[in-house]
Symmetry: C2
Subunit: 485 residues, 2 copies
């Protein structure tokens, strides 16, 4: 126990020890039942006489803070009626360098909402009830049995566990995306992939182009890094590439961030012709494209388009994928596919950022997954989620006001709907929470939040069809009441 002692102070050493322990016990930092060090040991550690420690302990015992138990040492007692620690930081005078930080803290987007005993939530990604938990646990125990403590050492640094990188390359190839293991970097979820790419390519003040709307945690990342965010509108064929060229000339962006398949939050797909136009523009304007393909394979109908990455032999496109949406978000595993000098830079930054992603989890996922297993998991998910999407579209038609508009998504996880005029999704949110239904309001997804006021993002993958119907019914009632008032 490293108690700070001041040997030049007028306060006796035993009192310093005693004051220190008292403060920590009262503040709850030394929890009840914590055993204090033996007096001989603590005396030696602190370089004081044993009497000093014995005096301190005796006084604390008489104060009712600790108790000596025969033969087993001194223990902290539970609090009786003690004042709680003062942790109010507003009145505290922080160092100068800390004060400079305070005003730039971004405001929180989440607020506390009224609770309901039976909330139907249309947020989240996949349905946890269908996570392959049993098989995952089998893989876990197999890996620990076969590889033992090796998977709990630091493990392979650099780009990640080799066999897993091979597996990713094979899965992507089976989807028609050309990659090699040596161009695959394993990351802690796709969010880390986005962060690494931005940190290598961009500096504060640089312009990044995004679809508006776009993924809210990408927006948070760009804001936190001090980037200037310029939104490009979308229609039912995705990013309106025709509107891109003037923006490229005006803003000289350093990156375009796009989600071409079942876009988050809008659910639309980028049309094939636009993909080709986009590549041509990117080459002409020296623009790196960050392609976020978070659920590209979850297609329920319609025709698939090649990944933008597959159209680009020149290393213009950086492709990001994840195991969070198909498998389990808590794995925190994603990957980047990149070519050229960029790849080495990403590996280098990944290594100094956190050395590597958990070797245990990397080995387990590699044990669990194979091309065949991924494909059959995909087929099951498609069957299940298609039904739920249809249930949601039906319920919307049945329960929501006819002025609500929606583009039926051909895949993915989300329905994006526009409320009738004068209704605000953000304003409606507490009322919806009160009625037992939760959703993501549109303003989370726009560079200028107010543009998102009329929109609502609904995840249809997490709830069963009857819960979906009930949730949308509740939402309809809330919208109706709000329209009347």
């Amino acid at each position: 126990m490293r108690i700070p002692l001041d040997r030049h102070s007028e306060i006796p050493l035993y009192e310093q020890v005693q004051d220190y322990l008292r403060t920590h016990i009262v503040a709850g930092q030394l929890a009840p039942e914590t055993r204090l060090p033996a007096t001989r040991k603590l005396a030696k550690e602190l370089g004081v006489s044993r009497i000093t420690i014995q005096n301190a302990y005796a006084n604390l015992e008489s104060e009712g803070l600790i108790a000596n138990r025969e033969g087993s040492g001194a223990y902290v007692l539970p609090p009786v009626q003690m004042q709680t620690a003062v942790t109010d930081s507003s009145s505290h005078q922080w160092p100068l360098w800390q004060q400079a930080l305070s005003d730039t803290t971004a405001k929180q987007l989440t607020t506390s909402l009224p609770s309901h005993p039976d909330t139907i939530s249309f947020t989240g990604v996949g349905d946890p009830r269908h996570f392959p938990l049993k098989d995952f646990q089998k893989s876990l125990n197999a890996v620990l049995k076969n590889e033992g403590s090796a998977v709990l050492e630091y493990g392979e640094m650099g780009a990640g566990y080799g066999p897993l990188r091979e597996t990713v390359a094979h899965i992507l190839a089976s989807q028609g995306i050309q990659t090699y293991a040596q161009n695959v970097l394993i990351t802690t979820g796709s969010q880390q992939a986005l962060a690494l790419i931005c940190q290598v390519l961009l500096k504060p003040g640089d312009v990044v182009l995004v679809e508006k709307p776009t993924y809210n945690f990408a927006l948070n990342l760009f804001r936190t890094l001090g980037l200037e965010i310029v939104g490009v509108p979308i229609d039912e064929d995705g990013l309106i590439v025709e509107q891109l060229e003037p923006l490229l000339q005006q803003h000289h962006p350093k990156l375009l961030y796009t989600i071409p398949n079942f876009q988050n939050p809008s659910g639309v797909c980028l049309a094939g012709a636009r993909r080709r136009q986009l590549i041509a523009l990117a080459e002409r304007y020296n623009l790196p494209i960050l392609e976020d393909d978070f659920v590209g394979d979850l297609r329920y109908n319609g025709r698939s388009q090649p990944a933008i990455k597959a159209l680009d032999p020149m290393g213009q496109v950086i492709y990001v994928g994840t195991f969070s949406k198909m498998l389990m978000p808590g794995l925190r595993l994603g990957y980047v596919v990149a070519d050229g000098p960029l790849f080495g830079r990403l590996v280098q930054l990944k290594q100094v950022t956190d050395l590597n992603s958990s070797p245990l989890i990397q080995h387990v996922v590699n044990d669990y997954i194979s091309v065949g297993r991924y494909q059959s998991h995909l087929r099951r998910s498609i069957r299940r989620y298609r039904q739920r999407r249809d249930a949601m579209l039906d319920a919307i038609k049945q329960y929501l006001p006819p002025e609500v508009t929606v583009i039926p998504p051909q895949g993915g996880l989300f329905v994006w709907l526009r409320l009738p005029p004068l209704l605000s999704a953000l304003a409606l949110r507490p009322l919806a929470a009160q009625a037992g239904v939760a959703y993501a309001p549109g303003s989370w997804f726009f560079p200028e939040p107010e543009e998102g006021e009329p929109y609502v993002r609904l995840n249809f993958a997490v709830q069963t069809p009857d819960r979906i119907a009930e949730g949308i019914r509740r939402l309809g009632r809330v919208a109706e009441e709000a329209a009347v008032n």
Copy 2:
């Protein structure tokens, strides 16, 4: 399968499909035994007629690349004598923005070494044979049983899993370091803690002060972030704080990075009086201190000193710890303790960097660990590692040339030794590898690598006493031979 098709091309669609598949099979991206999509399904996906796909498959079959199996579809065949994919990137013309990246890629510090059938490695951290693997696996299965898929959802974002943050606060309190759970941020190893702190506080070109020598992955981080690194010399009482003030006046550093306990690599501890001087200077010069306490509790003898954090009521000190050294490095769990506005900024950056650290691992570690368990694990480690340190010091005396100097460390994991004049640890490394002994050369740990030439860092915790003796004997022979030549 998202095959890029050009409908305006003169090449027939079936040939485009066939070319695409051939390329991927030959390059090994479509692995042998991969089942190709059914013709009907692929035709629908690509929006072409079924005949197109059937033609493509038939031609590939006649080329011996795929085979139709009765009733179960078309499969990729193993390669016979096919040319391998050309992946040489040197001749490739990368996009302009990529070319700008190439020259700034940092050179790799590691080189390949000759191998030996029985290498005794003095690198690493703790001894994997003593990882609490069985108990860890018990906790894993208990958490999966009791909490199910909940720990595989995204989980608590922000500062990390609440109960684990409480546990960290209690463990630290039992060491005499005052913290509250609300000031603890869980990170992916202490490396991520360092990266987050630097990214919040520093920008490229800023000066960071470090001990010289210091932790090599911290140096790599600072270099990758484009910081200017200024080294402060150490002696057997740690950082020579007396030499700090002129550097503060000259360089206006934005951060001091220090490892006050059993410093990596030197093994020395910062003396108590210097800790107080350091805090006083930091307050006077508005300097944040990053205290990296990676093995502060692994003390074998001598008197412990309070954490610098414990001497600072003003929020000047940022404290970083880890579960990697005491428990298992593969867990990838560390933490930051910080006060004031900085804490919120770190949480925010952590969230956009990777959303959160694996909730599964956080829950498992929290299930496994408690103050009592940590303390008893610590006691066992101290007993074991003290013996190994002594074995190493004895072996050094017995087998290394008498000109070798070493400050016997009072704790931690490393012995830091200085070779006789004219010997270079870096130059000796391949010879040592040939003789079957591995170590970390001193130049990895200095801002100016050449300053480290005469030094060697030896981990004494990983090997058993007799292996330590044998390894040092080999090292002695190598040093002797090198001195003769």
